[in-house]
Symmetry: C2
Subunit: 231 residues, 2 copies
DNA sequence: AAGTGGTCTAGACCACTCC
DNA sequence: GAGTGGTCTAGACCACTTA
């Protein structure tokens, strides 16, 4: 094997050997030292290449046990989650949002289990509609933990949506995303101006910083809405 | 600042400074050398930490220009796309699949534009149902480019599903994923044993190796199905 | 032209886990 | 216990971009 120059080339060569069945699924492949000798580079260069491929799911690595080609490579699709305004503007439409309600409220019973905060009256609930060229695009139903983001109370959300304000002012350490198809209920069909029962994409996002809940939002999309991603 | 020990701690410290507004969105942050001195570690350790955060979208890095805190951090959700069998078994259910049809056919007119292959009679079309504990979980509607995977013709798909066979035998270089909510049509509602018009999650996956199309599949999920992910 | 990040090296020590 | 990957260091050179 000719000497290679970078971890990028090493990655490609490893992928090539997997795809051409030189190394078969489940099979153990040579260790870092051996590959470093073969490729004429330092071990850490091979290490970087293999860690990247393991992160992508193509390799399974274990200390002492070595590195194996993944049996059923778990593909990961990367979904970009932009601010709603940018999502709409990137589609070439004019963005506008409208606040519908804004109340301090108790946490709905169904949420309380998932809520890590004990207090029951410290939630800000709000509804808004995001328009793309005057067509309702998303009906947003959001709860915000006031204790985590006290500055939220000073916001009117006229100039900037809660979505965008939170992205800029309440960074989170981790979050969960759930996608579900569901029939539009009375409220969301009215908000979106669509027929009741129409199939809509419901996106739920919840974010925390260090186990303190920041916000939970339900995004009801228009029926035609597609979420696209690459593998 | 006390000396830190690992790139993991450095990452957390950087995140902390971003979250607590020590470093504000859009602001330039110190260079690798300066942080390495502050944290009492090698530059490459800082480099690893910052590259990871840039990959996550929290930082924007440019040579010579330095590193800045991202203005509107585009969050990326990582969707795991496992083999359907594993998806069902991981949910604790018994997996079973049933082939419904298997014909060589022309490419449906609606697809031909997206198809990069000119030939019209070289497609294998198949339908299957994936069961979780004897409940129809996914109705699969798949087209396979025979020219790209000739060995597919020898498969009966009794012992192994097309999904799993392709994952193991037809590695792809890139793919596209589309998620959409739609009402069940006559066929899919019958296949899944659900009411017509019920909101179901429709997943479309298309994969290529080097611009040669391998397969395109429509997965019709049960109405309750949720797709979960982390941010 | 100069300063920043990107990558690589050679070596070291450590952590994990299989034997 | 021994062998593997995980991480770190100190130094080097290079690539890119801004000034």
């Amino acid at each position: 094997m000719a000497a290679m120059q970078s971890s990028e080339l090493i990655k490609r060569e490893i992928i090539r050997r997997i795809n051409t069945r030189v190394w078969r699924p489940g099979q153990m492949i040579p260790g870092e030292l051996e590959l470093a000798r073969e490729f004429g580079c330092a071990r850490s260069t091979v290490n970087r290449a293999m860690q990247e491929l393991a992160r992508r799911g193509l390799l399974n690595r274990k200390r002492k046990a070595g590195t194996r080609v993944a049996l059923n490579p778990v593909r990961r699709a990367t979904l970009e989650v932009p601010v709603i305004r940018e999502q709409i503007e990137n589609a070439g439409a004019h963005y506008r949002h409208q606040l519908i309600s804004r109340t301090r409220t108790a946490v709905p019973a169904g949420f309380r289990a998932a809520w890590h905060t004990g207090s029951r009256r410290k939630m800000l609930h709000m509804e808004a509609i995001h328009y793309a060229d005057d067509t309702p695009f998303i009906y947003e139903n959001r709860w915000i933990n006031v204790a985590a983001v006290p500055a939220i109370l000073e916001q009117t959300f006229n100039a900037i949506s809660a979505n965008e304000w939170l992205v800029q002012n309440a960074p989170f350490t981790h979050g969960a995303l759930t996608l579900k198809a569901c029939g539009a209920d009375a409220i969301s069909s009215q908000r979106l101006g669509i027929a009741g029962g129409a199939a809509i994409m419901l996106v739920e996002r919840t974010t925390w910083t260090d186990d303190v809940l920041i916000t939970r939002v339900l995004l009801h999309h228009r029926p035609e809405h597609c979420i696209e991603s690459v593998l």
